[in-house]
């Protein structure tokens, strides 16, 4: 059974004519000790999914369950019980840590929120030291302040803080996007080690497909607020079915292959006024732009349908195209 699950998750910002449906009808399920990757470009709603799952933004429709228990209401996702299980690590480690608090205080505060045996100050001190070791920071880090650390070390502090609460589900929102490659590698390796040792479940959100491929067991691809493809990682990267996924994969520069011409033309549409029918039809290389007879894409929104096995695709004309 999955630990954290969302069905038909829908999030809307604002109201009336200026309303923006950032996430629409998204299904996802996190399994114990496994990683679900979530990729998409800016404005596709991936960060909104993260914020909704940790209760920072309210849900307008759908259902969220933690270990089968309903946590759909805003209050449930803000309850101490839920927070002790589900935590989030933010993109920018330079802005997600209070600059006025030492690392020791940051960890201590999170441990206090855990309650129980951690009401004892001595117990919290011991646990803070243990957490630092776990995320690979020296023990003298406790008395120092966030600005005294590099970006990678700050991200370790943020991870340590999420673990201090006792969480076993981590929502990782672009956690390495602000870091250099050499540092990114250390943080990704740390996350993989922690997952192995503590059987953590990750929702790994990134715009970078190559990082998602490395970290995830299965992957969701989002476009303009909707999931367009869902498959096991190996399957998705060897046999992408949705034309958007294919285009994303072709767009990534590679260390080995030759450069391919840009697969998509034009910009993504304004998410406030998404196109009717399939949201991708305005840029789709196999849609009505290229093949005018495919009018179905203009009228009918394609539902996420099983392709083969676990593989699900939301496209009227999906066909697996080997990369």
């Amino acid at each position: 059974m999955s630990i954290l699950e969302a069905r038909g998750l829908t999030v809307r910002y604002g109201a009336g004519a200026r309303a923006l449906t950032a996430v629409e009808d998204v299904d996802l399920a996190l399994q114990r000790g496994r990683t679900l990757g979530l990729v998409g470009e800016s404005g596709c709603g991936k960060s909104t999914v993260a914020r909704a799952l940790v209760g920072l933004v309210p849900i307008v429709a759908g259902r969220v369950t933690l270990d089968g228990a309903d946590c759909t209401s805003q209050a449930a996702r803000n309850s101490a019980r839920y927070r002790r299980r589900v935590q989030m690590v933010f993109q920018d480690p330079f802005s997600s840590l209070n600059p006025r608090m030492s690392v020791g205080t940051l960890l201590d505060e999170a441990l206090q929120a855990r309650g129980g045996e951690f009401r004892s100050r001595r117990r919290r001190m011991a646990e803070s030291a243990h957490l630092l070791e776990l995320v690979g920071l020296p023990s003298d880090a406790l008395s120092r302040y966030p600005h005294q650390f590099s970006g990678g070390q700050r991200q370790r502090i943020a991870i340590g803080r999420a673990l201090a609460v006792g969480a076993d589900v981590l929502i990782l929102d672009e956690v390495t996007s602000a870091l250099d490659v050499s540092v990114q590698a250390t943080v990704l390796n740390l996350l993989q080690d922690l997952q192995r040792h503590l059987s953590l479940s990750y929702l790994f959100i990134s715009h970078d497909l190559s990082v998602v491929r490395l970290m995830s067991d299965e992957v969701l691809v989002m476009y303009l607020g909707r999931v367009v493809e869902h498959a096991d990682t190996e399957d998705l990267f060897t046999r992408p079915c949705h034309p958007y996924t294919v285009a994303l994969l072709k767009s990534i520069p590679s260390l080995r292959g030759r450069r391919e011409p840009a697969p998509l033309s034009g910009d993504p549409p304004d998410p406030r006024h998404p196109p009717a029918g399939c949201r991708f039809h305005t840029r789709c290389p196999v849609g009505p732009l290229a093949r005018p007879e495919r009018t179905r894409c203009l009228e009918l929104h394609p539902r996420l349908a099983p392709e083969a096995g676990h593989h699900q695709v939301a496209c009227h004309f999906a066909e697996a195209s080997p990369r």
Partner: protein, 624 residues
């Protein structure tokens, strides 16, 4: 305590605090010790000049002026503090409330605050004092001064609180489960404190002056009470007999106001952990002095007449040497990539070439564009030469356009200025360039403002602007970093076409090794202000020799890499530019470092394999 240490390092702050403490001691003690003397009439010494018995002389009733001045300290400073405290007592809750009410209702208190700030504060004060003064005395005065000030405080509080409420660390704390009281006490208040303390102390200083002013005009303190303002007004009447009677109070008012303003700022600044935990700058104990090899090597470029030739370029900002002896060349029509991690000096190198460095940066070395040494050219021809032959594309297309001007104005400016085209001809040229970079409806774009375009469209417009004068060199600094991958692919197509069709040489600066490898013919790898390797991009993966280049390649999560294999991380961090290690700057992180690497800086030398490498171990690596 670290906080006190931070204070001690600033002598002017210490002086301000000492003066402030002295004033407070006087305020407490003087009325007790000198209160009697200050009110004692001495009719034998009326309006006496300064003497031993009366250091500042006496007033028209024979009272000792120094004693009166010291005794008045309590009332003057006390009223300043009381009025400012009252202002904050009213203003802080009003400001906090403004920040707390939802965005829908916020404009109402905001506009009230704005209106009150726009209204002349002195008029409000005089009006309130006239009403309240007779009944409430000194408290009425304080209230009169506090009310206009309260709205200023409310404005500061609401603005600060709203800006902090949007920060990630507040969201992070909410997710961890930090409760509201603690969010306010440990997150909001500490992060607002620096500004609040400063504005409070500056406010007190303003209040002391304002209160003295009111008393001077006769609508402040009424006899028999007296403060500095009152003493000043009495002193001015007898200025020609006893100038000290006026100068004394004036000096006290000025000193007290300055002390409050400075001390508050100093205390607030020192309370910031960023300040008191900053490590004192340490210098590397061994500079790579004598072992530094001569860098006047011919920069390998291939073509005999390079478009760009950079020789031994150094860029210093303060104590930090950001670029330390960079030499390379770019041939006509060549596309060269400059890669490195943040802080490697790649952007500074580019800015130095284009002469766009911030003021205060010191540049050494030679840059020649199309065979002309830039340093030798007089300013006007140089600006024209760079304006036509070189174009610069910045990372963030939003901040590199002026938001207040239409795209048309900005795109045509260079052509109008350097090629003296009229507006119509320049606009036609701009339309041609825009269509060339695949901008749909270019005529409409010319009438639009930068914010009306998408990021990809702005970057295309930036490139079109660069192409307006058909430059021979295009420097692109992370041109796609702010863009999505599908848009990045479009921009890279465009750069490749510009390079091919216009024959413009391109220097592509990026942190993305794969991007550079796929687009450029040659790759320059920078580390700690130096080029450590220079090789053909098709040989990057197979033949790179520098351990840094190889570690970087191993850290890239490429799509072709086997999925189970962990990424190779580079231990440690790049060195601080003010304290680079002696020898090879990469040695503390290098798996191959030997004694020689710790002592001597390896020069960038041509290697039999056909590349330039700066590594003592390159020979060993080549064999491996």
């Amino acid at each position: 305590m670290a906080f006190l240490r931070a204070l001690r390092t600033a002598p002017s702050a210490m002086l301000a605090i000492a003066v402030l403490l002295l004033l407070l001691v006087i305020a407490v003690l003087a009325p007790v010790l000198l209160g009697h003397t200050a009110n004692q009439f001495d009719f034998r010494a009326i309006s006496a000049p300064p003497s031993l018995a009366h250091p500042l002389g006496t007033d028209r009733l024979g009272r000792d002026l120094l004693a009166r001045l010291l005794v008045a300290t309590r009332l003057s400073i006390g009223m300043g503090l009381l009025a400012e405290a009252l202002a904050y007592l009213i203003g802080v809750p009003v400001g906090a409330l403004t920040a707390l009410v939802g965005p829908r209702w916020r404009p109402i208190p905001m506009r009230v605050i704005d209106t009150m700030i726009a209204f002349p504060g002195l008029l409000v004060t005089i009006y309130l004092i006239t009403i309240l003064g007779p009944r409430l005395g000194l408290v009425g005065l304080a209230v009169g001064l506090a009310v206009p000030e309260a709205f200023r405080a409310a404005r500061i509080v609401s603005t600060l609180a709203l800006s902090i409420a949007g920060r990630d660390y507040l969201a992070a704390a909410r997710v961890v489960g930090v409760g509201w009281p603690r969010l306010v006490l440990r997150y909001l208040i500490p992060n607002m404190a620096e500004t609040m303390v400063t504005s409070f102390s500056v406010g007190v200083s303003f209040m002391i002056v304002a209160f003295s002013g009111l008393s001077f005009l006769g609508i402040g303190v009424q006899p028999p009470n007296f403060d500095w303002g009152r003493l000043l007004s009495e002193g001015v009447d007898s200025f020609y007999e006893t100038p000290a009677a006026a100068l004394g109070p004036a000096a006290f008012i000025a000193v007290a106001a300055l002390a409050f303003a400075y001390a508050g700022e100093a205390v607030a600044h020192a309370a910031n952990p960023r300040v008191w935990t900053a490590a004192p700058p340490e210098r590397a104990n061994g500079r790579p002095g004598p072992s530094e090899p001569p860098h006047r090597l011919p920069a390998r470029g291939g073509a005999p007449d390079p478009t760009l030739l950079v020789e031994d370029l150094h860029v210093r900002i303060g104590d930090a040497e950001i670029v330390s002896g960079v030499s390379f060349s770019i041939g006509p029509g060549e596309m060269v990539g400059l890669v490195g991690e943040s802080g490697s000096g790649k952007t500074m190198t580019a800015l130095a070439i284009a002469r766009l460095l911030p003021a205060g940066a010191a540049v050494e070395g030679e840059v020649s564009l199309l065979g002309r040494r830039l340093a030798a050219m007089p300013p006007k021809p140089l600006a024209r030469f760079l304006g036509t032959e070189l174009a610069f594309v910045f990372q963030d297309p939003m901040s590199s356009f002026n938001p207040a001007l239409t795209m048309g104005r900005q795109l045509t400016e260079g052509a109008r200025r350097h090629r003296h085209l009229d507006l119509r001809a320049a606009a036609e040229a701009a339309v041609a360039r825009l269509s060339e970079v695949n901008v749909p409806a270019p005529r409409r774009i010319l009438r639009q403002y930068p914010h009306e375009l998408s990021g990809g469209m702005r970057q295309r417009a930036m490139i079109a602007m660069g192409l307006m004068n058909s430059p021979k060199l295009l420097i692109c600094d992370e041109p796609t970093t702010a863009l999505d991958v599908t848009i990045q692919a479009q921009i890279m197509d465009l750069l490749a076409r510009v390079n091919r069709e216009h024959g413009a040489a391109v220097l592509l600066i990026s942190h993305n090794l794969a991007l550079v490898r796929q687009s450029c013919s040659r790759v320059l790898v920078m580390y700690a202000g130096r080029i450590v390797e220079d090789l053909a991009s098709e040989r990057l993966l197979s033949d790179a020799l520098h351990p840094y280049t190889r570690s970087l390649l191993a850290a890239v999560p490429d799509l072709e890499r086997p999925r189970g294999a962990p990424l190779t991380a580079i231990p440690g961090q790049p060195p601080d530019p003010i304290a680079r290690p002696p020898g090879c700057p990469f040695h503390p992180r290098c798996p191959l470092a030997q004694d020689r690497c710790r002592r001597e800086l390896p020069p960038l030398v041509a290697h039999p394999g056909g590349q330039r490498v700066a590594c003592w171990m390159a020979e060993v690596e080549a064999v491996r």
